[in-house]
Amino acid sequence: MSAALEIRGLAKRFGATRAVDGLDLEVPAGELFALLGPNGAGKTTTLRLVAGLLAPDAGSIRVAGHDVAADPLAAKRILAFLPDEPQLYAKLRPLEYLAFVAGLWGLEPGEAGGRARELLALLGLEGTQGDYVETYSRGMKQKLALAGALLHDPAVMILDEPLTGLDAASARLVKDLLAARAASGRTVILSTHILEVAERVATRLAILSRGRVVAGGTMAQLRAGSDRTLEDIFLELTRESP
């Protein structure tokens, strides 16, 4: 069985800056995988490359066996990408937004409508269906964007800082939801700068620094028998040389 995500020798430059620099990564199916790294480590660029939103300068990305460069549409059919800043239409109502997403993914109407309502209820947005998205708070927008990402029940979810703007209860709800998806065999890949979140919910982690993976594995593997915290390990691995 192929890995949910397989990255080989990935590189991306923006002018003189090497955002991703020969990155290798493999994420098995059914994992909740956390990508950690300091600001500018290349997390967002990596996720956008995986989602097919950027073209790599070198290297290959395969999502569930589909080469993102060679067959982007096949990869996108089973992918969902949630950007760090939710991108929504200010003048649409939540169900109209989800109907648009369903149209883009060509979902069966009856099933998509039912699932959209279920997701709105699950995420606590059912009482605001008459409102335009522009009236939503940051957290509500984040939840609606998440509902859009979940609508086509993707095999692989890519989430960039998914807990930003959420209150404690919503953050807990989203963490449980993502963990349940991983437990059911789907793959969730998220970036976060909150180490506690990664430590508690992720089944595997990778730490990025300067566009490369500097450490990866389960928490136990990262600790390597010591009693160090993830924060200790992270700071040691990502410390900038003077």
Partner: protein, 497 residues
């Protein structure tokens, strides 16, 4: 550590800095140099133009002409002030910051009012003052009264706009007030523009009658040089009494606006503005329709977003409103070859271009579209269709009219129309830079080069239509420009990172 409250001067200087950065963009040195050179050129032109005039000529200036020009400038300043008041109140989102500082509310509002006045006066001052300077040089120093008169009109406009916007907040609530203020400002500008052209729309008989009335004693009492209607222009040319009246009115309006704004703030009425983004009405709303085809889904989304956003409607329709006189003149003076068809070709092109800009550059979720399993070319085609279809629908009745007109050329008309609409939509989509819809209220607009290419293309198709119906060899020139526009847009398109 001691802290001293910010002074009015400090706040005004800060406002001036922000206004200048909005105006000049990144290339400030180039902007300063260009503005200065052009201003010196304006002075040279004014000195040269006024050199032949003697003192008697200045004193015989027709007050009606000066008055109309002054009124036009005053309403233009009012229109600008509405936009600036809405921006200052709702879009800068710095009310929490400035009112959280130890600065009296009156000082803050006075600074805002002065900033609005200065910015709205900038354009008329830039173009008008060189002529006052030239007149003073030629011995008419009284025309330097343009300085206090212009400042007074700007302050008055600022006060009216601020008071009206605050009234809208009270009546319609903060969320609607933003849009209403912007719509009001745009309409003030457009209505004044059209009002000044109204005379040319009138039937010949009406125009003759109005001319006769203006020559009559009662007409002269209304619009003659002594009419109170032209008090503003008399103030502008240095008549002391009207000037003093204007300055006093402006000062009173300014004081009233600052006082009312500060009181509204003290009562917490403006807190709603800061909170307005997170409020919602709730409820179940209308049922959304799942299961449209991809084309239906994309086109319905684009139309819905435009119809629900008054700023988007304004952005699309205002240029048409400004160009309406062209169409009316075309329909009325259609001796020989009709000018209606070429006018509609140009206007429909502009409409399609405006809608295409909104659909492409105004895309709010580019990552969602790029991440979806739909070919980008398909999405672009559907967005173009969403822009072209309304323009086609608007133009269809005119094709029917052309078919009914004796000697009409509906097929030529339809072909040029399709060319104009298609070319304009393509130009805007090729030059699209996503993410601008949210900035619509902040003056975001299509790139200058792309707009120029789009307008040239539509004008080219209009010329081709006129030339083909006339007939005239100019049709080939028009066709060349019309076909060249999409090619130019393709070459000038922004390259992906």
């Amino acid at each position: 550590m001691s802290a001293r409250a910010a002074s009015l001067g400090f706040l005004v200087a800060f406002e001036a800095k922000l206004a200048w950065r909005r105006l000049a963009g990144e290339r400030r040195r180039i902007a300063i140099a260009a503005l200065l050179i052009f201003w010196l050129g304006l002075h040279a032109a004014a000195f040269h133009g006024l050199a032949g005039l003697r003192t008697e000529a200045f004193s015989r200036m027709p007050m009606a002409a000066v008055g109309l020009a002054t009124l036009f400038a005053a309403f233009a300043m009012l229109a600008t002030a509405f936009g600036l008041a809405a921006h200052g109140l709702f879009e800068r989102r710095d009310l929490d910051l400035v009112f959280g500082a130890p600065v009296p509310a009156r000082t803050v509002w006075a600074a805002r009012a002065i900033a609005i006045a200065s910015t709205s006066a900038a354009f008329p001052a830039y173009f008008g003052l060189p002529f006052a300077h030239a007149a003073a040089w030629h011995g008419e120093a009284r025309l330097l009264a343009a300085y206090p008169a212009l400042a007074a009109v700007a302050i008055l406009s600022s006060a009216v706009a601020l008071l009206a916007t605050l009234a809208l907040v009270r009546i319609a609530g903060p969320r609607r007030a933003l849009v209403l203020a912007q719509v009001l400002g745009a309409l003030v500008g457009a209505v004044v523009f059209l009002a000044f052209q109204a005379h040319s729309f009138l039937p010949e008989a009406w125009r003759a009658a109005s001319g006769t009335w203006m020559d009559s004693p009662s007409g002269k009492a209304w619009v003659g040089d002594a009419s109170p209607l032209w008090s503003l222009s008399r103030a502008l040319v240095g008549d002391p009494l009207p000037l003093a009246g204007l300055v006093a009115t402006a000062a009173a309006a300014f004081a009233l606006a600052v006082r009312i704004a500060a009181r509204a703030h003290a009562k917490g009425a403006l807190e709603a503005i800061a909170m307005s983004r997170s409020r919602g009405a709730g409820g179940a709303g209308q049922p959304a329709r799942f299961g449209r085809s991809l084309a239906g889904t994309v086109i319905a989304k684009e139309w819905r977003l435009i119809v629900r956003d008054p700023r988007a409607i304004l952005h699309t329709l205002l240029p048409l409103l400004y160009l309406a006189p062209l169409l009316i003149a075309g329909v009325r003076r259609g001796e020989g070859a009709s000018l209606m068809a070429p006018s509609v070709v140009v206007l429909a092109g502009f409409l399609a271009g405006g809608l295409a800009w909104l659909a492409a550059s105004g895309e709010e979720a580019p990552d969602l579209l790029s991440g979806s399993p739909v070919r980008p070319a398909r999405l672009v085609t559907l967005k173009a269709a969403s822009a072209c279809l309304p323009a086609m629908a608007v133009a269809l009745p005119f094709i029917a009219l052309e078919a009914l007109r004796e000697g009409g050329a509906p097929i030529v008309f339809a072909a040029c129309l399709a060319g104009s609409i298609g070319a304009s939509a393509y130009v805007q989509i090729a030059g699209a830079e996503p993410g601008a819809r949210r900035d619509l209220g902040r003056g975001s607009q299509p790139g200058r080069w792309i707009s120029l290419i789009e307008h040239l293309g539509a004008a080219g198709w209009g010329l081709a239509c006129w030339g083909a119906i006339a007939p005239s060899a100019w049709a080939f020139a028009g066709l060349g420009i019309g076909l060249g526009a999409p090619v130019a847009a393709f070459l000038a398109r922004p390259r992906a990172a």
